[in-house]
Symmetry: C2
Subunit: 243 residues, 2 copies
DNA sequence: GAGTGGTCTAGACCACCCT
DNA sequence: GGGTGGTCTAGACCACTCT
């Protein structure tokens, strides 16, 4: 078999890459919501006119990228961003015993504004684009330890600003309400001295060394969906990275 | 074909996992030195009595783990820890323009001693085990910016202490002289205030916020081969992590 | 027991590198 | 042009899940 039957809009690259793109498109279009099973390998192979092995390779790479979850004997499912899962994947603070810190978040300020120059640059936005700004304090066993300043492109999250309450795990909301799937993050980490404002918010003396984490979040299509600047007072805890 | 012909000492798991273990064993045994080509897929398949697809799966996972490098049309090679490559993979400091910082290292102190309690704990060593301690300053465009304190199990690196000069990229030496292949690292990052000693060594005022990077390095067999504690004064640079 | 993904095989052609 | 890894197919059996 030398000619294949695939959806329109597929151009270059090997066959499994096109299969992968088709599956990804259907997930982001909402055809297969998070947590549901997608068709079996054989069904997809028949429908797309390719062999099961080719479908398998596409699904395997999507599984490695944590877009899909495969369960032997059961089926292949769209990965679900439950609050617990989001914390596990994207919150890299561990205490010195090696167990992950699970923060709460305090009541939050949220507002819309025209993006500043820095915000436009970090999120790659047009002039005069609007952003949603969220500020909050995160607590650890009742004590403030992290100050978050979150910036989102308003165009991607219409109506978010009117939410009565911003949840502790935003990425869960992104996926379920806006069908925006968080794919990966890039973080720049530095050490800074606490400013007067941060010192007050975190209840530490001014000048205390804080860890500054500057994160850009990308969705499955490679779009920048969030800029987050966190300042943490890590007392008996640390940022963890595996390479 | 239901019965396979494999080397002795292979027990559980799927066939490709056993093939992978065999290839890994030959690499660490030094049969195929870094930079050389291993046999072709067809040759390995014949030799081990399995199909080419099974060999391919084994080599693909080793390639994903950066143990092998595949070059289409040419062959499959044992990954080489050249100084440039080591820097690229394991040195996570970038300047704010996004280009990687390439440090030099100053003349170095090196000595052997009985491991302290902390060293035994971090490297999982027996009582009375010996360690090699290395201290050095790293410079960036001529200015000191990072203080390194490196601890190695003496049993793994006999004779290292007598080296006339410790190279800037230790991991290259590990691979070429001791056949110890660095596989991955785990890093704990915190913000600390410069002590008097660090302030002097880095030419900053005492109390300056520094980034502390506490790294454990593992080899291909999962052994802990290094404990490294770095303190960095990041002026216009940052630690970078992708998740 | 029926159905799913996981492993393994055998063979074909393609894209690329080298000489 | 010969040899390498990369892709694709077709079919078999295994391990597991669900009901």
């Amino acid at each position: 078999m030398r000619k294949h039957r695939l959806e329109p809009g597929d151009t270059a690259g090997p066959l499994y890459a096109r299969v992968k793109a088709i599956v990804l498109a259907r997930i982001t279009a909402g055809d297969w919501p998070p947590g549901t099973a997608i068709p079996t390998e054989m069904e997809l192979a028949r429908e797309l006119g390719v062999s099961q092995g080719t479908v398998r390779k596409a699904l395997d790479t999507l599984s490695a990228e944590q877009v899909l979850v495969r369960r032997q004997g059961s089926g292949t499912y769209v990965a679900e961003h439950t609050p617990a899962h989001v914390m596990f994947r994207f919150f890299n603070i561990y205490d010195d015993a090696g167990t992950q810190v699970l923060p709460d978040s305090q009541p939050t300020r949220i507002a819309v504004a025209v993006a500043s120059a820095a915000e436009r640059r970090r999120l790659v936005l047009e002039d005069a684009a609007k952003v949603i700004r969220i500020t909050r304090i995160r607590t650890r066993s009742g004590r403030a330890f992290m100050d978050d300043r979150i910036v989102l492109p308003e165009a991607l999250f219409p109506g978010l600003v009117d939410e009565p309450e911003v949840p502790n795990t935003l990425y869960d909301l992104f996926q379920k309400r806006y069908r925006i799937h968080v794919a990966h993050t890039e973080e720049q980490v530095t050490a800074v001295a606490a400013t007067a404002r941060l010192a007050e918010r975190l209840a530490v003396p001014p000048g205390t060394p804080l860890l500054a984490i500057d994160r850009i979040t990308y969705d499955l299509n490679g779009r920048r969906i969030e800029w987050r600047l966190s300042h943490a007072h890590l007392d008996g805890a640390h940022y963890f990275a595996r390479l």
